[in-house]
């Protein structure tokens, strides 16, 4: 994600918060298997 944003021209790309967005859903096991989580990003043009 960060690399793709930089390739598009954005700079100061950062991942800044993480969320266990799938906790308690029926995809929780798959989410844990692949390390799926919600992530906040910021980037500047």
């Amino acid at each position: 994600m960060i690399e793709a944003l930089q390739q598009a021209g954005f700079h100061d790309v950062r991942a800044c918060h993480f969320f266990d967005s799938f906790a308690g859903t029926n995809k929780e096991r798959v989410a844990k298997k692949y390390g799926v989580r919600g992530t906040n990003f910021t980037a500047v043009k």
Binding site: M1, E3, A4, L5, Q7, A8, G9, F10, A15, C16, H17, F19, D20, S21, F22, A23, G24, T25, N26, K27, V30, K33, Y34, G35, V36, R37, G38, T39, N40, F41, T42, A43, V44, K45
Partner: protein, 204 residues
């Protein structure tokens, strides 16, 4: 996270599945889905202010299915122009509209008619005329170049099979010095080829 979809991937089918899934969420937010919805989820797992969400129309908050919280980053400036990419039922747009005030503007772009109907009704009910919603493909935004101060989005970019193209399109519409602050799902493990071809994993 995969940046491009596999060769031979049925992009048209993916878009149709995404549209069907989120149309179903708009019609029946309390239905059975493999992701959370609604304001209680947003407050409990994502750090939204439940009291503020309860002050918004249920039509906008009930189908909320974001995965993070763009409002935990830099504050939206008074008078800013904001774009919400894949705005769904409009909850984040209404929150953004309150932050930028009446001198600002918020446009939400979504491809799902049922979500757009909910979003427009929610904006009317909330009394926020600085918000508008446009139907469109997020890879071909119906916006002029360099017209946006801040792009927000929540759990949508992962649904695009062409993220490089999407990010170039966002770069086009953002003003110099403008910014993105968005949430999306990420993976720590590399997906197998079979998993990358699994439409259910993309649409969820």
């Amino acid at each position: 996270m995969a940046i491009a979809c596999p060769v031979g991937f049925d992009v048209a089918r993916l878009k149709d599945e995404v549209r069907q899934t989120y149309s179903a969420v708009a019609r029946e937010p309390d239905g059975e889905f493999h992701f959370h919805r609604g304001p209680e989820y947003a407050a409990r797992l994502l750090g939204y202010d439940l009291a503020e969400l309860k002050s918004l129309p249920d039509t906008a908050t009930a189908p909320f299915a974001g995965v993070g919280n763009p409002f935990l980053m830099d504050p939206l400036p008074d008078g800013a122009s904001v774009l919400d990419v894949g705005s769904g039922a409009g909850m984040d747009c209404l929150l953004a509209a309150r932050r930028v005030g009446k001198q600002g503007s918020v446009v939400g772009v979504d491809m799902t008619d049922e979500m757009l109907e909910r979003a427009r009704a929610g904006a009317r009910e909330a009394g926020l005329p600085q918000v508008r919603f446009e139907k469109g493909d997020i890879n071909r935004l119906p916006l002029e170049a360099q017209s946006i101060d801040v792009v927000i989005s929540n759990g949508v970019f992962n649904l695009s099979p062409d993220k490089g193209g999407l990010f170039r399109e966002l770069y086009r519409v953002v003003k110099p010095g403008g910014r993105l602050q968005f949430a999306d799902i990420t993976l720590e493990a590399e997906l197998s080829e079979a998993a990358r071809n699994d439409i259910d994993l993309w649409t969820g």
